[in-house]
Symmetry: C2
Subunit: 136 residues, 2 copies
DNA sequence: CGGTATCCGCCCAGATACTG
DNA sequence: CAGTATCTGGGCGGATACCG
């Protein structure tokens, strides 16, 4: 569970079905913007150095550092440090990270295959809203 | 970085690979905490009323309203209003929403199947950190 | 019941500066 | 190169109050 998660205030924990809770748990962890992009990048390139990731993703140093640490902590990404001068660090997917590629790929394929339909639905919705607010 | 690329302080859009950008786009939209839980709930129960969703998910009225509107706008969820007294509104998945169930299910299965491994990795990582900071 | 409007705290994430 | 530390504000999301 990431820091931002609201650990119940006055509301019920998260969901009646325990599965929903756990699904949400893992999605909160690995489903955020940068985690997915990092996994996708690493799955494409195999190994990447810190600044290679930074350049590829257009991510700030801070978020890259934080997200990589979290991914390493969760066992999805491995970190290999070479004490050369200058230093060199390589990030790669662990077997667990590799196993995550497939579900992500499914999601990505769905996304790519349905984005246009989503865009259409959105235009349609916006037009309807527009028409409703401009009855003149 | 391409030669002509201006070293602007604001970051590059999101990613060098256009696919990453779109993947991120759709994940930003439907990958958030509440959207996924709503889709999962609707896929389990078929149709749900506003307050049924609210109770099931432990979501605030505001976020439920906002998220449902966004899902409806994106064509994933249908909204049916019954002008009875008291009013009644039913939410359900559209065909597009139904098609989203499968990728989500894959992700959920991966999550459920690997959560314990993630927890193990995390404990291992935390222990190592603890040992490193307590050399006494 | 099914929302909308408003206020507000708190976290996320970018910018910047500094270190090994 | 590969980070860490600190500041800051913008936005997400909960609480509350109020309408149809």
């Amino acid at each position: 569970m990431r820091p931002g998660y609201t650990e119940e205030t006055t509301l019920a924990p998260a969901a009646q079905c325990p599965d929903c809770k756990r699904i949400n748990e893992v999605l909160s962890r690995v489903g955020d913007r940068w985690s997915v992009l990092i996994v996708v990048s690493l799955s494409q390139y195999g190994k990447l150095r810190f600044n290679e990731l930074k350049r590829n993703l257009g991510i700030s140093q801070r978020m890259l550092s934080l997200t990589l640490r979290e991914l390493e902590r969760d066992g999805l990404v491995s970190r290999t440090y070479f004490p050369t001068i200058p230093p060199k660090v390589e990030y790669a997917l662990t077997p667990l990270g590799e196993s995550f590629k497939e579900p992500v790929k499914q999601l990505a394929l769905w996304a790519l295959g349905n984005l246009s339909e989503i865009d259409n639905a959105r235009r349609h919705y916006d037009d309807a809203q527009q028409a409703a607010s401009e009855p003149a």
